[in-house]
């Protein structure tokens, strides 16, 4: 990595971050304008979600009197283990056991919050260098202080276990932090090389385990403010529904009700307890205007290749004309993926306390900055008057990136002049939400005499996922298509001489959101299923077929090939199959990580039973291998559910699934034997949370093809 890049990162991470000794901020930096950084990073990559989440990582390091280190994280812990990863990175340079680094969410009062969102699998990766640089700087500052005190050179001082040592001299970080008054900020020290790592790369226990097994971990629903009231918000179960008639008389009379708030479309029952609010809420009589009459068949029609605007995103050779010239003989297949819900276990929730000239919002969100922006606008209150606190988040998967309940909670709090806690019912969470959009894919290949693929094209139709994330149609205007999907998996990674990929921008009357893996989930299903069909068609082993197309010496090809070779070995791909077992494979690259999966399954009483899953992931450097395996297993289970069960559908302008019983997901009975292997294919860490999910569905489909000879081309997989 060039030195220029390094200094850029140093400036960036000390932007508004600070090092605190003895209760005083001793180092803080002001950096270049956010706009310039935005542009610089935009140029660097088209990977918008990852880019947004690596923007302006601010943090706060403080040596506390008990010699622990407080680290305020700009990244949100949504279950992915980011706090543990950050503690390990800091420990690496600080010479403190990682458990002694107490990581918490930054709150916005100290101005220390990520500019954008936590998502895109990039939380730990984006802070890999910055956090170690701040920690190393801090260590050197402590050494300088001790050097002055003892009259020795800083280079003669060792650091160990939160203590500075030189000859017979010994002092803890906390002691020197308390007594030293003048601090110099040294040049950023050289980071320790990977070969010298003592913490990073070792499997360690997550730092949040004890709180989570004892039930002391606090989520939004567990948080409280003094004198707090509870609200239940009226939300339309129909898409775009508005109130036609409303009768709240009975609700107002209900026990414990403080007020029924009505401001235009905002209707909420506020009461002393949730139970009272909810009981009163059930007495509301409401009829809805339902202007949106969309049907499932419409959605399928809207999202179809050939409709809307085409944007070509990959072109090598002249694939399109070859396919066109050989129309009669090309191998052509179509694939569809369904709409889906996030169904995270913790519903969206927010606590708001709005006063005359300030507001406090407590909300488990993937994007605190979005909370500030939207609440500021709704209350017409300056952004710096709004404090956001983020408790732990009970699952996000993209759903907690935007459209939480913080704006509504703030408006209700303002209306009643008290702190208010608001959360969704499960039905509201399902029906008044954001959805992974359905997609359509057309793949075509010209197969030569010898079985070679002479040309291949992929056309994907998908709605724009960025619209809701950015709150504007801007990306669409600039690029003409949903480049989140385009940037995530639509392109063909294989070394085909002639290839062409286009994305068709579909408009749907459905609120669209980001879902774990973003574009990679649908794209990997379509492309990798097609690859399996091509191998089947040309009578080749599906892994050998892929390896044959990864012979170039670019990094992705080299790493992918190695991942597949490892998969052959670890999954026992070449061993004889047991009777009644089908085997399938798929691979994908996203967030610069490469994930491949081999599946063994059987069909029992018309039902697919996944028996064994082998996952191989190359995510660059691994920080906490056990944490990575945890993510890989989680992605595997979610991938099985997405392949076999999950589907949201619309009827008469309403999402049909309102309860868990109507939206089946994986359960303990679905657990197969899972083996996870991690390869290190690069010198920096890449995304972990999302990449291993996408290959599951096409690998399952491939195994069904292997077992039955029948190709699966839509999800969830239905055998008959």
């Amino acid at each position: 990595m060039s030195t220029e890049k390094k200094s850029f990162s140093r400036r960036k991470f000390l932007q508004r971050g600070a090092i605190v000794f003895g209760g005083t901020v001793v180092a803080s930096y002001l950096g270049c304008s956010p706009l310039r950084r935005f542009t610089a990073q935009k140029a660097e990559s088209m990977d918008l979600p990852a880019m947004m989440s690596s923007l302006q990582p601010d943090f706060w390091f403080e040596v506390l009197p008990d010699n622990t280190i407080s680290l305020k994280s700009p990244k949100i812990e949504i279950g992915q283990g980011v706090f543990t990863g950050l503690a390990m990175l800091a420990a690496e340079e600080l010479d403190v056991p990682y458990e002694q680094i107490k990581v918490e969410h930054a709150n916005t009062k100290s101005g220390l919050i990520d500019e954008m969102n936590t998502g895109g699998s990039s939380s730990t990766a984006s802070l890999y260098e910055p956090i170690r640089e701040v920690a190393a700087t801090m260590r050197e500052m402590l050494k300088e202080a001790a050097a002055k005190k003892w009259g020795v050179k800083a280079s003669e001082i060792n650091t160990e276990n939160g203590t500075l040592l030189s000859g017979n001299n010994k002092i803890t970080y906390a002691e020197i932090a308390k007594e030293n008054k003048n601090w110099d900020i040294p040049k950023t020290p050289k980071l320790r090389p990977k070969s010298a790592f003592k913490v990073v790369g070792k499997s360690v226990k997550r730092t949040d385990l004890k709180a989570k097994v004892m039930g002391t971990a606090k989520y939004t629903l567990d948080s409280e403010l003094p004198d707090m009231l509870y609200a239940v918000l009226l939300q339309s179960p129909y898409l775009d529904g508005t109130i036609k008639t409303l009768d709240t008389k009975e609700a107002e009379k209900s026990t414990g009700v403080v007020k029924v708030v009505r401001e235009g479309e905002l209707v909420a029952v506020v009461a002393k307890t949730f139970y009272a609010a909810d009981s009163a809420f059930k007495k509301i009589n409401v009829e809805w205007n339902t202007p949106n009459k969309v049907q499932q068949a419409d959605l399928i029609k809207f999202v179809t290749v050939g409709n809307g605007k085409e944007v070509n995103i990959q072109k090598e050779g002249n694939a399109k004309s070859i396919i066109e010239d050989n129309k009669a003989t090309v191998f052509k297949q179509e694939y569809r993926t369904p709409m889906a819900a996030h169904a995270q276990m913790e519903v969206n929730a927010a606590i708001a306390h709005v006063e005359a000239d300030k507001a406090l919002i407590i909300a488990g969100t993937q994007g605190p900055k979005i909370v500030i922006d939207t609440v500021s606008k709704a209350l017409n209150l300056d952004k710096d008057k709004i404090e956001v606190q983020t408790p732990l988040v009970g699952g996000g998967f993209g759903r907690k990136a935007v459209k939480g309940l913080y704006v509504e909670a703030a408006l209700i709090s303002k209306a009643v002049g008290k702190p208010v806690k608001l959360y969704n019912s499960r039905q509201q969470e399902f029906q008044n939400s954001l959805y992974r959009p359905n997609t359509h894919h057309v793949l075509q290949a010209k197969i030569g005499q010898n079985g070679e693929i002479e040309a291949i094209t992929h056309d994907q139709a998908t709605p724009d996922m960025l619209k809701n994330l950015m709150g504007t149609g801007l990306p669409n205007k600039i690029l003409g298509a949903d480049f989140i999907s385009a940037g995530h998996g639509a392109s063909l990674m294989y070394n085909f001489k002639n290839k062409s990929v286009s994305v068709w921008n579909a408009e749907v009357p459905i609120p669209i959101g980001i879902w774990r893996g973003v574009g990679m989930f649908p794209n990997a299903f379509a492309i990798e299923s097609f690859m399996n069909e091509l191998a089947h068609q040309t009578k080749k082993d599906p892994i050998a077929f892929r390896i044959g197309l990864l012979q170039n010496d670019d990094k992705i090809s080299v790493r992918s090939k190695k991942v597949l070779e490892t998969l052959i070995e670890k999954s026992g791909w070449k061993t004889p199959k047991a009777e009644g077992i089908g085997r399938g494979v798929a691979i994908g690259n996203d967030r610069k990580s490469i994930a491949a999966t081999a599946i063994e399954l059987a069909i029992v009483e018309e039902k697919i039973v996944v028996k064994k899953v082998t996952q191989v992931l190359d995510c660059g450097i691994s920080i906490n291998p056990e944490g990575i395996k945890q993510q890989m297993e989680g992605a595997t289970m979610m991938g099985i559910g997405a392949a076999l069960y999950e589907e949201a559908t619309v009827k008469d302008g309403q999402i049909e699934q309102a309860y868990f019983s109507q939206y089946p997901m994986v359960s303990l009975t679905d657990v197969p034997e899972i083996q996870c292997f991690i390869l290190e294919g690069d010198d920096i860490p890449y995304g972990v949370g999302e990449p291993p999910l996408a290959p599951i569905a096409p690998a399952i489909a491939g195994a069904v093809l292997d077992l039955t000879g029948k190709a699966i081309r839509s999800l969830p997989i239905k055998l008959s």
Partner: protein, 156 residues
């Protein structure tokens, strides 16, 4: 209506609407927040606690039905932070939780399962617990329950 019961060993008396679901009594009145809300319709198991030793989805139990009974929540599963229940120990050893939101319900269901089946097979576990976890911690839950059985056996 005044209702008397014991929660985590402590005699307790509250005066609320008898139809109020036990979940909200536990969380909002007694401020024991380990027990979670996931659906309110007995479909997810996030609110599982023990009533007289039976694993029960508290979102769907009116508080009046627990008069005179013993309630145990996750807060009362172990004697102290130093002396965790085998299920909790195993949950840490196997590093089960991700977001953690569903785990309280799973642990309460698992603690009950172990009482009934001290050496459960994979199938006993798979068929015995129908709670939902969206983070996909299922494989580790199965391992942890078996590990807890081992810890139990070593202790006896």
């Amino acid at each position: 209506m005044k209702i008397d019961f014991k929660i985590n060993g402590k005699p307790t008396s509250i005066d609320v609407d008898p139809a109020m679901p036990l979940l909200w009594v536990v969380r909002d009145e007694l401020k024991l927040t380990a027990t979670k809300f996931g659906c309110g319709m007995a479909m997810c198991g996030a609110c599982t606690l023990h009533i007289d030793g039976e694993a029960t989805r508290s979102c769907s139990v009116p508080v009046e039905s627990i008069a005179g009974k013993n309630i145990t929540t996750l807060e009362g599963l172990s004697e102290s932070a130093e002396n965790l229940h085998p299920i909790q120990q195993a949950w840490i050893e196997e590093q089960v939780p991700q977001c953690g939101y569903c785990q309280s319900g799973f642990m309460m269901a698992a603690a009950k399962l172990l009482e009934e089946k001290p050496n459960p097979s994979d199938d006993d576990i798979k068929n015995g617990i129908t709670n939902i976890c969206r983070c996909g911690t299922h494989p580790r839950i199965i391992k942890a329950i078996k590990r807890a059985a081992e810890i139990n056996n070593q202790n006896h």
